[in-house]
């Protein structure tokens, strides 16, 4: 077996097992920590797909920002002293039906479609220069809009989360 194949299966297994723990774990803290490994697994797969810039971005944004934010959310909304860390499930049977239908559709589409791809994995030298050039030429408008969205989200989050001022 080739080395890349082994690496792919290792990262795929990390992502899937961690994802399953996120979804099925009874303890919200276990879920948060499993999400860390799921993000790491996806970052590893990005490296395997030669997307070096995105792998680093994934680690910085997801692991560095979103996960920390989520753990803050866990700590702020769970009564740690009361040991109220357990969380339940609802609507298991209808959910199973919906998910089975969705999985069936997804698998059917990706098996039956004849994807037009290159015969072998394309290996550019570096993706960061390409992405940077495209972001500042072809995609400069979405890039600027994204910056405005981030600013709006920042102000909005601070507005929503702060305590109401007594009038």
């Amino acid at each position: 077996m080739e080395l890349t194949t082994i690496v792919f299966y290792v990262f795929a297994a990390i992502t899937l097992i961690a994802g399953a723990i996120v979804v099925f774990s009874r303890s919200i803290v276990y879920s948060a920590f499993a999400l860390l490994f799921a993000f790491f697994g996806v970052a590893g797969l990005y490296v395997l797909l030669m997307a070096d810039f995105l792998a680093v971005t994934q680690l910085m944004i997801y692991v560095g920002a979103i996960l920390v934010l989520l753990i803050f959310g866990v700590m702020l909304t769970t009564r740690v002293i009361d040991v109220q860390m357990r969380t339940g499930t609802i609507h298991v049977l209808p959910a199973l039906l919906i998910v089975a239908a969705l999985a069936g559709v997804l698998v059917h589409v990706l098996v039956s479609t004849d994807w037009k791809v290159l015969p072998e994995l394309f290996t550019p030298e570096e993706t960061a220069p390409q992405i940077g050039t495209a972001l500042l030429t072809t995609y400069v408008l979405p890039f600027e809009v994204a910056s405005v969205i981030l600013l709006v989200a920042l102000i909005g989050a601070a507005m929503i989360a702060r305590r109401e001022r007594k009038v």
Binding site: T5, T87, V107, F122, A161
Partner: protein, 100 residues
């Protein structure tokens, strides 16, 4: 060599896991984590297609998805915290003041 279908099946599985989390879990923050899982699986699909087509455009799309995910995480958690302050719970089946 890993083919495209392996990546697609993996990301479909992760997406389905995320859907299970969204429709079955009661805690809003776990629903949130499941949404992040789903975003990650779609990103993985985009990167896989981008690499197998030899075109960096898919990776730019992933970059924007990450931006939106960060904004969504900030606003979503702010809403969850505001809800917790008002209702003392983050269980989504107990937050039903829009239902009558």
């Amino acid at each position: 060599m890993i083919d495209l279908n392996s990546y697609l099946i993996l990301s479909a599985s992760v997406f389905v896991l995320g859907v299970i989390g969204v429709v079955t879990r009661r805690n809003a923050i776990i629903v949130f984590m499941s949404i992040e899982l789903m975003l990650n699986s779609v990103n993985l699909t985009l990167v896989a297609f981008s690499s197998f087509l030899g075109d960096a455009t898919g990776q730019i799309l992933v970059f924007f998805v990450m931006t939106i995910a960060a904004a969504e995480a900030a606003v979503g958690l702010a809403i969850v915290i505001a809800l917790f302050r008002n209702k003392q719970t983050v269980n989504i089946d107990e937050i039903n003041i829009l239902k009558w």
